[in-house]
């Protein structure tokens, strides 16, 4: 198989404009003759479905939740980037492009990222026109804040609920089209197979999660927008239902899976509390604007804290190690996520972690400095130039509450500790997956007619994703890229006519799905699905987590292979196929996670360099920073499925060319 990225010729700033001008179109009167399936209604899927419907195509959209408004995009807290330069701090399309490429550790495609930066401003305009209530300043203008990895304020936000507001915006457009009868929405439906006819994607097999019915749906093109695969680790910040099934099924049908080992570990999550934990909660990165991260300098102090004999507030200023400020003076607490995460692991590995659990993993995110300075500032602004310490504290806390109130409440509910009084405890957790289905410039996978958007594809973030750029990518793909590129593809389909679901390909695909369901339900095993999922998660976290090495990866590959055998032999799935059956849903998802997990380890093993979220312990410089190998690994690693044994997958390389940005070591010092 030859990978053709279809990157257009020309200067980077003109590529997309010129390319769009020459893409083929489908005339408005022909669009109602064409059907499109969109799987997933997060930012990427909802925006795509709404756009296609508005253009006049017939759209069927699917999601596994009870309503499209609940897609996981809803949970994004921090914000969305756009190069608007409203703050006049020197932002531009080029700078956003540059920051994103650099942030991605030079493992993303220039042309895609530039396109993303180009349309970013438009996204904000579009969302505001839809009634998305972004934060405003007193002059009525949009407000911005900054995020890790950048030196400008380009992040638009709606308190700590940006993803929610953006998704509700896309959902409202989707709803409008559903109301107009242009979209058939299938809630509580899960795609379990792709149907190919003559090599092209022509439909899907889905399970109605309420009745258990297996349904056939045909279309001229299929868009996969099913989000990320972080739940391969069991514990992550992802929603419980987030899964890789759609992406993995198309992988098995010939779509290459790219850079699976690139996983973002987010530095500011609440540490694990115990063995029954089901999910990890993110504390928005925006907190790093106001919080200072530290651990006790002396190990004895860390031990005393873990033993409950000492409180963090009792540790003197000079006995605190503000390790990010110390190591990275230029960016301080706002270094990119991979850098911040690794630094936290390093101090915890060295025995300075503060969490009293069996891992001792946790560091402090401290707001006391901010409380002081903002308290004083507010007092002065009110004309009180001689505030007492009490007044300062109270004003400072009030300031924090206005800015981050909901996050602080959330933290308190979960941990039972008051972050206004004592520093938050945080630790890195699995958050976002940069890898995904390989797509070309058109966002088309290696299966003709099967497009992949949003977190489910691999394309824009390289080895590390900067904050506030996933929301941007999801909406860019759905509103502003797919409408053009999918139309170009569909221009060849105006005479095809309806695709029959009676074709033998549909019959066979349906049979395969039913067989695998029946296999699980009749398996006379003894262990629950979660039992296997948790074991997979532990292998992944310990050996394919924040730091990887050859030995661990090799072990992981073997252990996952045995886990897979055991899973099929010993899993017990109760209930039947013709009813709502959450255990069955989980079993089908975990089966795919196991195979993907193995591929992630295989991919991590071949990548003998450190970059972004992929830190190979063998490849670091004297100061413990990542050591990239551009000479040998400046490529996208795209894997081709070769049957049951994942070890047989074949690696294809897409060389990355940097023509417009000079490649350099990433330095945040």
């Amino acid at each position: 198989m030859k990978l053709d990225s279809k990157i257009p010729e020309g200067h980077i700033s003109q590529k997309w404009t010129d390319y769009k001008d020459h893409l083929k179109l489908v005339a408005p009167n022909n669009r109602p003759k064409i059907d499109i399936i969109v799987v997933g209604t997060g930012l990427a899927g909802a925006s795509a479905a709404a756009s296609f419907a508005e253009m006049g195509y017939n759209v069927k959209a699917f999601c596994y939740q009870d309503s499209p408004r609940r897609a996981h995009s809803i949970a994004a807290q921090g914000g969305i980037n756009a190069a608007k330069n409203y703050q006049n701090d020197g932002d531009s399309t080029f700078r956003l492009f540059y920051d994103t490429i650099k942030g991605g550790d030079y493992r993303a495609r220039e042309a895609n990222v530039h396109r993303l930066a180009e349309v970013s401003g438009n996204i904000i305009d579009q969302c505001v026109a839809q009634g998305v209530p972004f934060a405003r300043d007193y002059g009525g203008m949009l407000d911005n804040r900054s995020f890790g990895g950048t030196q400008v304020q380009r992040t638009f936000y709606a308190a700590g609920q940006t993803g929610q507001q953006l998704l509700l915006g896309a959902y409202s457009s989707l709803s409008r089209q559903i109301g107009l009868g242009k979209i058939d929405m299938y809630n509580r439906h899960e795609m379990l197979e792709l149907v190919k006819v003559d090599g092209k994607a022509r439909g899907i097999i889905a399970r109605n999660l309420i009745t258990g019915e297996i349904e056939r749906h045909s279309a001229h093109a299929v868009i996969i927008a099913t989000g990320g695969y972080g739940n391969v680790y069991f514990l992550s910040t992802n929603a419980m239902g987030s899964n890789v099934t759609a992406g993995w099924k198309i992988h098995k049908q010939g779509a290459l899976f790219a850079n699976p080992c690139y996983v973002q570990i987010h530095p500011t999550c609440i540490p694990v509390h115990g063995t029954n934990q089901s999910k990890l909660t993110l504390m928005s990165e925006s907190l790093r604007n106001s919080g200072r991260i530290w651990v006790p300098k002396k190990k004895e102090d860390a031990e005393a804290i873990r033993a409950g004999k000492m409180k963090p507030t009792q540790i003197a200023e000079e006995d605190r190690d503000y390790y990010l400020e110390r190591k990275y003076p230029a960016f301080g607490n706002l270094v990119p996520r991979d850098v911040a995460s690794r630094a936290a692991k390093e101090v915890c590995d060295a025995g300075h972690g503060i969490e009293a659990n069996d891992t001792n993993e946790g560091v402090y995110l401290d707001f006391s400095t901010e409380i002081q300075s903002k308290g004083k500032q507010t007092a002065y602004a009110k004309g009180n130039h001689n505030p007492s310490q009490e007044e300062i504290l109270s004003l400072g806390k009030k300031w924090l509450e206005e800015k981050y109130g909901n996050l602080f409440t959330m933290y308190q509910k979960i941990t039972d500790e008051n972050p206004y009084e004592t520093p938050m405890k945080i630790y890195p957790a699995v958050h976002y997956t940069m890898g995904g289905v390989w797509v070309d410039y058109n966002l088309q996978s290696t299966i003709p007619g099967c497009f992949v958007a949003g977190e489910a594809n691999f394309s824009d973030h390289g080895a590390n994703r900067l904050g506030a750029s996933a929301l941007m990518q999801g909406l860019a793909d759905g509103y502003f890229v797919l409408p053009y590129t999918v139309s170009d593809y569909l221009s060849g389909d105006i005479r095809t006519g309806k695709i029959s679901t009676d074709l033998p390909e549909f019959v066979e695909a349906e049979k395969n799905v039913k067989d695998s369901i029946n296999k699980f339900l009749s398996n006379n095993g003894t262990k629950t699905v979660d039992h296997f999922h948790k074991r997979l998660g532990l292998i992944m976290w310990n050996k394919v987590g924040m730091g990887r090495n050859e030995k661990g990866l090799q072990e992981a590959i073997g252990e996952i292979a045995s886990l897979k055998e055991e899973f099929y032999k010993d899993v017990y799935v109760p209930g039947s196929s013709d009813e709502l059956n959450p255990e069955l849903e989980k079993a089908l998802r975990v089966a795919d996670f196991i195979e993907l997990g193995q591929l992630m380890a295989i991919d991590a093993l071949q990548r003998k360099e450190s970059c972004g979220g992929h830190f190979r312990e063998e490849y670091q410089d004297a100061e413990g920073e990542t050591l990239r190998d551009d000479e040998n690994f400046k490529f996208v690693g795209a894997w081709e499925y070769k049957g049951y044994d994942i070890k047989n997958e074949e690696l294809h390389k897409e060389e990355l060319k940097y023509e417009f940005i000079k490649i350099a070591a990433r330095n945040y010092k």
Binding site: P133, A158, S173, R176, I210, N276, D416
Partner: protein
Amino acid sequence: MSAAKNINISLQIWRQKNSKEKGKMETYKLNDVSTASSFLEMLDQLNEQLVNERKEPIAFDHDCREGICGMCSLYINGRAHGPDTGITTCQLHMRMFNDGDTIVIEPWRSAAFPVIKDLIVDRTAFDRIQQAGGFVSVNTSGNTIDANTIPVPKDDADKAFEAAACIGCGACVATCKNGSAMLFVGAKVSQYALLPQGKVEATNRVLNMVRQMDEEGFGNCTNTGACEVECPKGISLENIARMNREYLSASLK
């Protein structure tokens, strides 16, 4: 700050095979529940136990488990989202309960939210209300004017945001003795009524959404205010008042 400990509890849970069959309460015992667990983690633990005993696990709705998707529901000890305020069920923690407690768990109860199975109900009526007019009719082409061309006073933007914070969980309906959806619909109508972008269609929007709300079989609002008390996102009754004003002036047009 309380250290986590383990407690033993007894659970009375509504079991119902599907929308057609009748349901009933069943009792379960569960030991060694960490008070640091969330309520849903407690249910996971129970389900793990049930599956290991070869019994059918309890079906309940959930996804994000961080209080934002609106998917979790559960009527716990007679209250929507349980005995804490300003949170969803997934944010409820077992430290709110004591060793030896009996906890009663039921699905949302409302004619407009029929039970699908056990603790899962059908809330698609909310989607249909939104489809009837909960949007601004702008094309998705991106050919919109620059976002800062129309300034929005901060107060209006903040109020619109507060209304838009509704997560569509349905606690307001479940807790209302009339099964009214006014808080949900009021929030949506308010968000757009407060923003310049939504003004043009305001008349049709409120008429259409209210018509759909009535068609879905939600009850009438008699201003008992129970919805506001149980709403996890603090959506205020002001939104109902604003909707009523919008409705009145739309009806007079």
